[in-house]
């Protein structure tokens, strides 16, 4: 019995260790080969760099990653801000008020969760051209906000429902308007869920690829995911710099995730939605 148990234990440890290596090694390989010269990369793609070429990372940054990085940062920060503001308002409206038609409105909002972005791709492309947002950062921000809102509203609304009603009742008696209740009670108390919504929205927007490719034409306005594709064709022969670029792009999300695991997990569970 104990012998068998031991065997199980060893088998499980081997399996999990192998799985962990399958994930960590490619990422390590990516970052490490970012330090190699092209020659070194082709002769020995597995080993450690002969000479650590820090300038690959500098070159990748200068070859465009830096620029794409700033574009991504702008689009992400603005989108997250708007999703939090507009989303929390709607979540407040849909959780704290009782009126006819509230359920219908909620259903409309939450149905947005189900729709595949591909279906809207062509019409959005046409619409953005007509309203003059095509090939601008706002041409990404507006669709991103619209597509992220249903989930964020869903997430924040469930949390707002758990805030005790007595708080806003006493505030109303003290003469607070509904806007003051939203601003002074709901938002401060909802901070944890705002953080979750911000992280998940930020991750989805930072990594979004299809809209970013179709709605932006100008290379100077590209975000990182699409910019990397440009970089690949532009640096087709320089693997070290290319890999350094990939490493720079992956790093921020990995760091943010490790730092804020708890908030990520809370949001995921409430939503059970894959980006």
């Amino acid at each position: 019995m104990t012998g068998l148990n031991r065997l199980y234990r060893i088998a499980i440890w081997l399996w999990f260790a192998a799985y962990a290596i399958c994930i960590l090694y490619p990422l390590f390989w990516l970052a490490m080969n970012g330090f190699k010269s092209n020659r070194n990369f082709f002769l020995d793609p597995w080993g450690l760099p002969e000479k650590w070429q820090w300038q690959n990372y500098v070159s990748a940054w200068k070859a465009g990653i830096g620029h794409y990085f700033l574009n991504s940062a702008f689009v992400t920060v603005v989108s997250v801000f708007l999703v939090l503001l507009i989303g929390s308002m709607a979540a407040f409206g849909l959780s704290r008020f009782r009126f006819k038609g509230a359920n219908l409105l909620l259903l409309i909002v939450v149905s947005g969760l189900m729709l595949a972005p591909q279906v809207s791709l062509i019409s959005l492309y046409k619409m953005l051209q007509m309203i003059g947002l095509y090939n601008t950062h706002w041409g990404l921000i507006v669709p991103y906000v619209a597509f992220q809102l249903p989930f964020s509203i869903f997430l924040m609304r469930s949390y707002f429902l758990s805030i005790p009603r007595e708080l806003e009742e006493s505030a109303t008696i003290d003469g607070c308007s509904t806007w003051q209740v939203y601003w002074h009670i709901i938002l401060p108390m909802g901070k944890p869920i705002l953080a979750s919504a911000a992280l998940l929205t930020g991750m989805n927007v930072w990594n979004e690829f299809m809209f970013a490719m179709v709605f932006i034409e100008d290379s100077a306005l590209r975000t990182i995911p699409v910019g990397l594709m440009n970089l690949r064709s532009q640096l087709n022969t320089d693997f070290g710099v290319q890999l350094a670029g990939l490493a720079i792009s992956a790093l921020p999300m990995i760091i943010v995730f490790i730092l804020f695991q708890k908030q990520f997990v809370r949001g995921m569970m409430a939503g059970s939605v894959k980006g």
Partner: protein, 297 residues
């Protein structure tokens, strides 16, 4: 009462809701209606004044052999992802909850989840190199264990390309499902396991008789998310193979993109959009039915 009035009429609630509602209706729902309309015209990106063709594009689509390749590939994506992400994720989560490994759970779940936060273009471009026939790790590993004959151009061979692409999705998302199952498992009352233990039930038995029934809903929801996701696939295929070699890895998403932005057949692309809409809508309605009980909506 006074306070009831301000929180119980629509007039004070609507200002909070309208901005979000407007954005969602205009930029999420309206485009779907337009898509349906566009699919009935022959038009190009630079010339909106198309000719009305009715349902011709749908007839064309159902006769297009690539459409069936795409459907097959999307389905393959769904089946393999169910197996690895839902099945595998569930088993891995259950083992992570075992005493022998629980101390290491935070480490393993963080590592397993990590690929899910990285952008698909980073993951796709990285795997393209790992699959590279000459310098890639995959062939290198096969050669190292003495299987030179297994080495091949994984993404360049139309027999293996779709599997190679699907494998990357498993690499990226199995940990995500594992995490969802772990969180759901933390909600199962411990007494259930204690009682089973007292009765002398083995771990395998408790897994089938306690864990799975208790997680039934999460498993169903997870399965639906996975299947819906499989029909929305676009990025990874675009980045790694763009539907090639030949059209062997084409999925509905890349087929739509190719029709619209390579071949400038916007009407045809819109008809593919309608099909994606129909499939995902059907699956989502199914998911809503299944998950109704668990949500506080």
């Amino acid at each position: 009462m006074m306070l009831k009035s301000s929180f119980s009429n629509a007039r004070s609630a609507l200002p909070f809701i309208i901005p979000a509602l407007l954005l969602i209706v205009l930029f999420v729902f309206l485009p779907i209606v337009f898509n349906l309309y566009y699919s009935m015209f022959r038009w190009s990106a630079f010339d909106m004044n198309g000719e009305f063709v009715g349902l011709d594009y749908y007839t064309k689509l159902f006769r297009d052999p690539v459409f069936y390749i795409a459907l097959k590939n999307n389905s393959l994506y769904a089946v393999i992802s169910l197996l690895f992400q839902v099945g595998g994720g569930l088993v891995i989560a259950a083992i992570l909850e075992e005493k022998i490994i629980r101390r290491w759970q935070p480490f393993f779940r963080t590592v397993f989840f990590m690929p899910a936060v990285i952008s698909i273009s980073v993951v796709g471009l990285m795997w393209q190199l790992l699959y590279n026939p000459d310098i890639g790790l995959i062939n290198g590993a096969l050669k190292a264990i003495g299987h030179n004959d297994w080495a091949r151009s994984w993404l360049g061979d139309s027999k293996t390309a779709i599997y190679a692409v699907v494998a990357v999705s498993q690499w990226q998302y199995t940990g995500y499902m594992t995490m969802l199952f772990l969180i759901a498992m933390h909600k199962i009352p411990g007494e259930l396991y204690e009682a089973a233990m007292m009765d002398g039930a083995s771990r395998i038995r408790t897994f089938f008789h306690i864990t799975i029934p208790q997680l039934k809903e999460m498993i169903l929801v997870g399965s639906m998310i996975t299947v819906i996701g499989a029909f929305k696939v676009f990025d990874e295929v675009y980045v790694m193979t763009f539907g090639g070699p030949g059209r062997s890895t084409e999925v509905l998403g890349t087929m739509l993109y190719r029709a619209a932005f390579r071949n400038d057949e916007m009407g045809y692309a819109s008809s593919i959009g309608t099909v994606i809409f129909a499939i995902t809508l059907l699956l989502s309605l199914l998911q809503m039915r299944i998950s109704k009980t668990g949500r506080e909506v």
